[in-house]
């Protein structure tokens, strides 16, 4: 152990890196909490089990085998290689070198596994890059996949390669410097040593470059996450934990309407007192359904921050398949964009101001201030194309529920604006007047039985 200016520098870099991330995370938490309150407590065991299967176990990824395997390699690589990051942190702060080497054979197993996984990650990343940029998997396109989301997806892949390269540079230089006396096993780096110079000074410098590049790269990546779809590596876990446990067909009940309807049917029914502000004054009534992001439940906003933009929802959406405007992924991406626009964006990179969107048109700025999620981002045409079939909900690998947001916005259109398509208004009045969505008289309801036991041809 020998302290040097390097350790102090490292400590500063690490504190700055984690501190900046904590600052961004706090702002995102605040953004999520602008959503309406929804009690998601209880059912802890059931929720933990689901998190274990879907988030840790990647259960829903395996609906599509090729991407599932590639993703699994990168995911396991990420987890195992992070054990090495613990070593780097300790070494960096205390000036030790390969502090975990006291583990002996276990250390060799760890470093060996790391190297193999590192190489597999590079291969998987190459395959993923090929799928995205050469093979042209259809779900990676679409109007919502603007310049930023497309670049973002590739940036993540490039960073992964840089991080792995740094790891191999560090190991190979260290191995060439120390030879067989270096603790650990290096099944990949042993073939790379030939590429490096022979001078011990140069090797030492290269080892340091690899070491610093790896840890600084990780800290930069950590702070890139909140600006990126890659934030899902963190948010997938709470998102799955707080996902719905009720059958997918069960739509939420609007309690305020229940009170009104009960009072209409039974004059003696006591409607609970309206909510009050902390100072005792009556709270502003909340609108029915959702017009803007703060009308959605906080879980819907958590959804938006968990989205990987993989497009599995959109690729199974019957409306989207048949060429309608609706894309469940767009609803989720719009929600995130809108919450960052309306509330303060915590981001270092501002995705909304990338590419052609960066042109500052004063009129557009003004429009942006006045619009809402509904109509500003999501059009009624998209919402009315939904068949509520739950295919998007079923497809999402991290249990995002675009359908809930769609229904909330439909509720706003119908209950606050009376803006349903005319044919649906006809259906509503049929139900009101005839007790059926079609214009038939209730007195004909039993006609089916008239010729019941007469032979049909």
């Amino acid at each position: 152990m020998h302290f040097s200016i390097q350790n102090i520098l490292f400590l500063l870099v690490a504190v700055a890196g984690f501190g900046l991330f904590a600052w961004q995370a706090r702002k995102i938490r605040a953004n999520i909490l602008v959503g309406r309150d929804r009690d998601m407590s209880g059912h802890v065991n059931e929720r933990l089990w689901k998190t274990l299967l879907v988030a840790f176990g990647q259960q829903k990824m395996f609906k599509r085998l090729t991407p599932a395997i590639l993703h699994l390699i990168v995911y396991i690589g990420f987890i195992v290689i992070n054990i090495e990051v613990i070593e780097i942190l300790i070494d960096g702060i205390f000036g030790t070198h390969r502090v975990l080497s006291f583990l002996g054979p276990l250390y060799s197993l760890l470093t060996g596994t790391n190297e193999v996984l590192g190489a597999l990650v590079v291969l998987a990343v190459a395959a993923l890059w090929w799928r995205r940029n050469v093979k042209g998997v259809r779900r990676f396109t679409g109007p919502e996949m603007r310049a930023w989301p497309r670049l973002d997806a590739n940036v993540i892949l490039y960073i992964e390669v840089v991080l792995m390269a740094a790891l191999f540079l560090m190991n190979a230089a260290d191995l060439k410097l120390h030879g067989a006396s270096l603790p650990g096993a290096f099944p990949i780096s042993q073939f790379l040593t030939g590429l490096l110079p022979d001078s011990p000074t140069a090797l030492h410098v290269l080892e340091r470059v690899g070491w610093w590049a790896h840890i600084v790269g990780i800290l930069l990546f950590l702070n890139y996450l909140p600006s990126s779809k890659h934030f899902h590596i963190i948010m997938a876990f709470p998102n799955v934990y707080y996902s719905r446990l009720v059958p997918q067909g069960q739509f939420s009940n609007v309690d305020s309407i229940t009170h009104e309807v009960k009072a209409m049917m039974d004059p003696t029914y006591q409607v609970p007192a309206p909510a009050t502000e902390p100072d005792g004054s009556a709270a502003a009534p909340t609108p029915f359904g959702a017009k803007d992001v703060n009308d959605l439940a906080w879980t819907n906003l958590l959804n938006a921050y968990s989205c990987t933009e993989c497009g599995r929802c959109t690729s199974v959406c019957p409306a989207n398949i048949t060429g309608k405007l609706l894309s469940p992924r767009k609803i989720i991406m719009d929600t995130r964009d809108r919450v960052e626009e309306k509330y303060n964006s915590p981001l270092i990179f501002n995705p909304n101001l990338y590419g052609k969107e960066a042109k500052h048109d004063p009129q557009e700025q003004l429009d942006r201030e006045n619009h809402t999620l509904l109509r500003g981002y999501v059009t009624p045409e998209e919402l009315w194309a939904c068949t509520t079939c739950n295919a998007c909900v079923e497809a999402c690998p991290v249990n995002i529920n675009p359908l809930e947001s769609i229904v909330e916005m439909r509720r706003f259109l119908v209950l606050e604006e009376s803006a349903a398509p005319n044919s649906l208004n006809v259906m509503f009045s049929n139900i009101e007047n005839n007790g059926a969505p079609w214009a038939f008289s209730p007195s004909d309801r039993f006609n089916w039985a008239d010729d019941l036991f007469v032979a049909e041809k």
């Binding site: 045409e381 068949t387 295919a391 509720r411 349903a420 007790g435 309801r445 032979a455």
Partner: protein
């Protein structure tokens, strides 16, 4: 039901007919087929008749929560008034709404979809699918309803019902959790689709026809074993292939899709209850 109540009796099950089952000319045949099965096995059942009203499903999916709750509370008052404990329905939309959304409004019942109910009758040996029409050598593919499948995880019951028919059962490429909607859910039944390149029911009908014609990449029967059914040349007589459905909306949409492809002469759309009733010889 009112007659029964006047006699002071409570039926074992209430058959919830649903608006389509009561008013849609095509679906009335399904209602009658199911009633014949109920009569055949001697179940003590009743229907609400004119006292039944829309469950409110299309209103709720379209965002009209107020109208939905008005309907729901009215129906709950009727059902609770008669002391109903068990509800059977052939409509997955009525099934989903009464089962999942009525409890929050005070309506707690044991709700069973007719596919599950038929499966139970078959398991108990009360329905054997013998003595009527034979389905030997005919091809049947089942179209999953969203409100039965993904919404409520019922995938096996309708398949178990079809298995007693001695037909060649084929799975479409998109089936079970990956099933493609018929295009009518979420109140789409009552409006024109938004502009696009194709209607959803046509897309789904094309898939069903491709499966029945043997154009699917791999023919699988319902157990996931490769089918023994020979691949028939397109355009040849397939002996009346069947798209089986378990929902009135799917029935309408698939029948329209088949008509759109001008295949109604050799491909028919039937509900599970109709298939079972004709296999059991109950159509007379």
């Amino acid at each position: 039901m009112a007659d029964l109540a006047a006699r002071g009796e409570t039926p074992e099950i209430l058959f919830w007919v649903g608006c389509a089952g009561a008013f849609d000319d095509r679906y009335k045949r399904v209602t009658r087929a199911f009633v014949r099965i109920l009569e055949h096995v001697g179940v003590n059942y009743a229907v609400l008749g004119m006292e039944e009203s829309c469950t409110g499903d299309p209103a709720k999916r379209a965002g009209n929560e107020f109208l939905f709750q008005m309907q729901a509370m009215q129906n709950i008052t009727t059902l609770n008034g008669y002391g109903i404990k068990k509800v059977v329905t052939a409509c997955p939309h009525c099934f989903n709404t009464i089962k999942n959304e009525y409890p929050a409004l005070g309506g707690e019942y044991e709700v069973i979809h007719h596919s599950t109910f038929l499966q139970q009758l078959i398991n108990e040996g009360k329905v054997k699918a013998e003595g009527g029409e034979s389905f030997k050598g005919r091809r049947i593919t089942f179209h999953d309803s969203c409100y039965l499948g993904r919404a409520n995880n019922i995938y096996e019951a309708p398949r178990a019902v079809l298995e007693v028919l001695d037909a060649d059962l084929l799975e479409m490429k998109r089936c079970k959790t990956n099933g493609l909607c018929c295009g009518a859910g979420g109140a789409q039944m009552w409006k024109e689709p938004e502009p696009g390149k194709k209607d959803i029911n046509v897309e789904r009908a094309e898939e069903a026809l491709a499966t029945l014609d043997g154009d699917a990449d791999v023919l699988l029967n319902l157990q996931g074993v490769e089918s023994t059914a020979p691949v028939l040349p397109a355009g040849s007589n397939r002996g009346g292939s069947v798209i089986a459905v378990a929902c009135p909306f799917c029935m309408t949409m698939m029948a329209d899709g088949v008509k759109n492809k001008e295949r109604e002469s050799d491909v028919q759309v039937f509900d599970l209850a109709e298939l079972i009733a004709s296999a059991e010889g109950l159509n007379a």
